[in-house]
């Protein structure tokens, strides 16, 4: 109601301003018919509007003025100065009342009657009174009270207050074009800011610039919000008129229709609302005229007498989807097809090959109206082809689906062009693309095996949280070069469409997410149906925004009431996984097809050959900063730069297995035949009819496994004698035995201490023997002291044994505080 009132006030004010000139002109020439008409229209509108709002005083005033002016228009009364003055006094009064209404104050009582009498009463006397006398008599009489009233009004509402209130509510009308220019200017500012931010990051921290730049960013985002809001309007304004429209139409057609609107709080660009107003109205007309059956037919068909039209608006990402559905008779496939053939739109042969969906969507082709009779409601030459054209003009689309006897759904998709949306940048095939954040449900990074990647015919499926979800390879969708999907790590972007359907999009990398300024694309590019717009990244590189809905639709991933996600049959999969273990199939460097149980595979690593060290008896490789054992290398030198490795783990130990090629994750369904002669092979089995050697993990880890190094803090600590020899020669040996060497000053009680015999003796003599375990060293190979407690300092074996013994004693003694 408040909105309506504000509208009323704004409208009245606007008319007052516009008619100001008319009133002046009328005063100069009371006989000017066009002026009378203009003023008549004004008071008439005010009268009509006030009846709506229950402003009886305003209504009475405008009614009186309207009557007087109507008499003039009909020639029953000659307009004269007296009448002009009286009407002007009323108009002034209306203006004051409007101010009072806007300020929410009561307008002082009284004074209205005098004005009304002035318009009516003296007018009847004009016939006998001479114009001059009327002037002389009436002017002082009428003008005095009018101006007195004005003054009185001003006393009650001080001018300052009134002006301030009026200014607070003031609205102006602007051409949308101007808004567009401001909007695109702000968009450009955002881009310039991003560019600047990029350069500032490159230049490093500069406190003197960073502060003001932060402020600029904050201001800009404020301005951007305001501008965006400036253009946005709730779709409610569009939907709120529909119940009335439906009521009138259904009454005209003798049908009973209820309308249900949902999603009125979705905001849409003002201009976009104007663009879809006509298409929406048209579709509703159609639904009532052609879709909903007459009550009797509905009852006969077992439906409720009252038809239902549901309109739902949903925003997802940078599109708004509006679904208009009715529960009427549905579209007649045969009739549409017949008409299309008759019009030469399709041939009979083509028709036979077309699906119901495609035929139904022919109704958007020019020259196809199936209505047999042209009623006054629809079928006025504005067909659905125009609806589609209008929507396509703004980059939107429309689709129809229908079940005979159950109803029809029209789905409009309208883009929010020239808007700023949150988006995710992904990379595939070396090129970057953006995805509207609104669609993104989740991002998953995993191996093909972990997601149970399978191909059903041409369609790929992944299993995620127990659901089988269709998976599109973005590189395939875009027709880019792509490597074998099973041989690489996935990054999946799970996308949820407006219809609720979920699908996965496989990409190479995720880059970043942020606000993207979406710019429209040229028609030649739009035609591909893959892109919704373009946007510039921080570094000024243009990227394409993917049209997720359309891509999904092209791949038939959008369901209309179809089951949302394919649930894998629970018991079947459970049984299958229980019966068959899974394994990773690969070819090793000997060319043998091998497999390793999937549970062991941590990851598939790709590593440069330079990271491999083959100098020792066993090859090692550096992965993630760890030196890990590597098996499966060929004897010959490697001829490639990069190597694929399976990272295997038994829970504590890790090792890597070099492979020539990773094939796939497989189910071990066939019988396993043990191979006793090769300890490294657990069994042979068949996969697709070919033998595959299943690697014996137990043997593999027993031979090559290396527990990961304990973290530095967890290792036993040891202090060494303070000498060059100890630091350079002894320390490496102690460290390789698993100790952490600490300076003498940092030693904690209980740490191992290695000291020379003479030092030990001194300490003992002073009565301060070391508190923890001690290894005593002597300088001579011969045990001159005769005791066995010392170790010759180059006796590696004995030293190692002693170090190990101390460590084991420590472990056995339990962790120390």
């Amino acid at each position: 109601m408040d909105d309506l009132l504000a509208d009323f006030i704004a409208e009245t004010r606007e008319m007052l301003e516009a008619s100001g000139g008319e009133i002046v002109a009328w005063e100069a020439d009371p006989d000017d018919r066009t002026r009378i008409d203009a003023i008549f229209r004004f008071v008439h509108t005010v009268k009509g509007n006030c009846g709506f709002f229950d402003f009886p005083r305003l209504a009475r005033l405008s009614h009186a003025a309207e009557d007087a002016l109507a008499d003039c228009r009909a020639g029953r009364r000659e307009p004269d100065q007296r009448l002009v003055t009286a009407v002007l006094a009323i108009i002034d009064r209306i203006a004051q009342m409007i101010d009072a209404i806007e300020a929410g104050e009561d307008f002082p009582e009284g004074g209205d009657e005098a004005l009304i009498d002035a318009v009516n009463g003296p007018g009847e006397a004009t016939a006998d009174a001479a114009p001059g006398a009327a002037d002389a008599g009436a002017d002082p009489l009428l003008h005095a009270p009018a101006s007195a009233l004005l003054e009185r009004a001003d006393d009650f509402i001080s001018p300052a207050v009134r002006r301030a209130d009026a200014a607070g509510q003031r609205t102006i009308r602007l051409p949308v074009e101007l808004l567009d220019r401001v909007m695109s200017g702000v968009s450009d500012m955002v881009l310039a800011r991003n560019d600047l931010a990029h350069r500032l990051r490159q230049a490093g921290n500069q406190p003197t610039i960073d502060g003001p730049f932060e402020r600029l960013t904050a201001i800009l985002s404020d301005v951007r919000d305001a501008i965006t809001r400036m253009r946005m309007q709730r779709i409610e304004t569009l939907l709120s008129v529909l119940p009335r429209l439906v009521r009138d139409l259904s009454a005209d057609l003798g049908k009973q229709v209820m309308v249900d609107c949902d999603g009125g709080d979705v905001e849409l660009d003002r201009e976009m609302i104007e663009t879809i107003r006509d298409p929406l109205t048209h579709l509703i007309r159609n639904a009532i005229d052609h879709g909903i059956e007459p009550p009797s037919a509905r009852l006969a068909g077992g439906k409720r007498e009252i038809g239902l039209i549901a309109i739902a608006a949903r925003q997802s990402g940078n599109t708004i989807g509006i679904v208009i559905s009715d529960d009427g008779r549905g579209l007649d496939e045969e009739r549409i097809a017949a008409k299309a053939i008759a019009n030469g739109l399709i041939s009979a042969a083509e028709r036979a090959a077309m699906s119901r969906d495609k035929i139904l969507n022919l109704i958007f082709e020019p020259g196809l109206s199936t209505a047999e009779t042209v009623s006054n409601v629809s079928g006025r030459g504005v067909g659905l082809d125009v609806v589609r054209q209008n929507l396509e003009k703004v980059g939107g689309s429309i689709k129809v689906s229908s079940q005979p006897g159950e109803g029809t759904h029209f789905t409009m998709q309208i883009p929010l062009t020239l808007s700023i949306i949150a988006g995710l940048t992904v990379e595939v095939g070396g090129q970057r693309f953006a995805i509207p954040q609104g669609y993104v449900e989740e991002i998953v990074q995993a191996t093909a095996g972990a997601l149970d990647f399978t191909r059903m015919g041409e369609t790929a499926l992944v299993t995620f949280r127990g659901n089988r979800i269709p998976c599109l390879m973005l590189d395939e969708v875009l027709g880019l070069e792509h490597p074998d999907i099973t041989a690489r790590d996935f990054t999946l972007v799970l996308l949820r469409l407006a219809s609720g359907d979920l699908f996965a999009l496989a990409v190479d990398h995720i880059h970043s997410h942020g606000d993207l300024v979406v710019k429209p694309l040229a028609p030649a590019v739009m035609k591909s149906g893959l892109y919704a717009g373009s946007t510039l990244l921080d570094d000024g590189q243009p990227v394409l925004l993917l049209d997720v809905t359309n891509i999904a639709a092209h791949h038939d991933l959008v369901s209309d009431g179809r089951a949302r996600v394919l649930q894998p049959p629970e018991e079947d999969t459970a049984a299958a996984t229980a019966a068959a273990a899974r394994a990773m199939l690969f070819t090793d460097f000997a060319g043998r097809r091998s497999a390793v149980r999937l549970e062991l595979v941590q990851r598939i690593e790709t590593t440069p050959t330079a990271a491999i060290d083959r100098s020792g008896a066993r090859a090692r490789v550096v992965i993630d900063g760890l030196i890990l054992p590597l098996v499966g290398l060929p004897d010959a030198p490697l001829d490639r730069d990069k190597l694929r490795l399976l990272r295997l783990s038994d829970g504590t130990c890790e090792l890597l297995h070099a492979v020539r090629e990773v094939k796939d994750a497989i189910l071990l369904t066939e019988a396993l035949t043990p191979v006793p002669e090769d300890p490294l092979v657990e069994a042979l089995t068949l996969v697709d009819g070919e033998p595959v050697a299943l690697i014996d993990a137990h043997e593999l880890f027993a031979r090559h496994g290396k527990p990961p190094e304990a973290a530095p803090g967890m290792r036993p600590r040891c202090t060494l004698p303070d000498s060059e020899w100890a630091r350079t020669i002894l320390a490496p040996l102690v460290i390789s035995a698993g100790y952490e060497v600490v300076p003498a000053g940092m030693a904690r009680p209980g740490d191992l201490e290695i000291m020379f015999e003479d030092m030990f003796e001194v300490a003992e003599a002073l009565g301060r023997p070391p508190a923890g375990p001690v290894i005593r060293l002597r300088d001579h190979p011969d045990d001159s002291q005769g005791g066995s407690a010392t170790i010759y300092r180059y006796d590696r074996e004995a030293l190692f044994a002693a170090l190990t013994a101390v460590r084991h004693a420590r472990v056995a003694g339990g962790p120390r505080a």
Binding site: S187, L191, R388, S397, K519, P520, A522, A524, K527, P542
Partner: protein
């Protein structure tokens, strides 16, 4: 008739664009290719904060691109509310028209007739006046909307 014209070379032929259609001439930087679009859409590129659709005029006419090398300068034009960068063999000069576009006996050949308004005499010799909209529409006029919509 003193309309200003920008003389360009497309596939070895001398062509003219109305100077008021040409907003600027830019050095083509990196072009982001647009997968699954017709060949004549070379990609998109950025001009300040604007993105331009780069049209390869040689393919837009239906000629083999290998035969004619292109300049790294492109003419920026606006058509139907969108901005395009036209990849051409070269941008020659700005000149004044010395007549109205006219037809010649025998026509210009099927590829050229589609995009040509006519031959126009200029101060620096005759040139083929290009119909921008037709050029940008590409070699195959849109048909088969049914398939797209269905």
């Amino acid at each position: 008739m003193s309309e200003l014209l920008v003389i360009i070379q497309i596939a070895g032929r001398r062509c003219a664009l109305g100077a008021h259609d040409v907003k600027s001439v830019i050095e083509l930087g990196s072009i982001t290719p647009v997968p699954r679009t017709p060949d004549f859409v070379a990609g998109i590129t950025a001009l300040r904060s604007q993105s331009l659709t780069v049209i390869d005029c040689r393919s837009a006419l239906g000629f083999d691109t290998a035969q004619w090398p292109t300049d790294d300068r492109a003419a920026v034009v606006a058509c139907g509310g969108h901005s395009y960068a036209l990849m051409v063999d070269g941008i020659e000069d700005i000149t004044t028209a010395a007549g109205v576009p006219g037809q010649i006996p025998g026509g210009f050949g099927p590829e050229w007739s589609r995009i040509a308004t006519g031959m126009i005499e200029t101060m620096t010799g005759p040139a083929l006046l290009i119909d921008l909209a037709a050029l940008i529409a590409g070699p195959e006029s849109p048909r088969g909307d049914i398939e797209v919509a269905a």
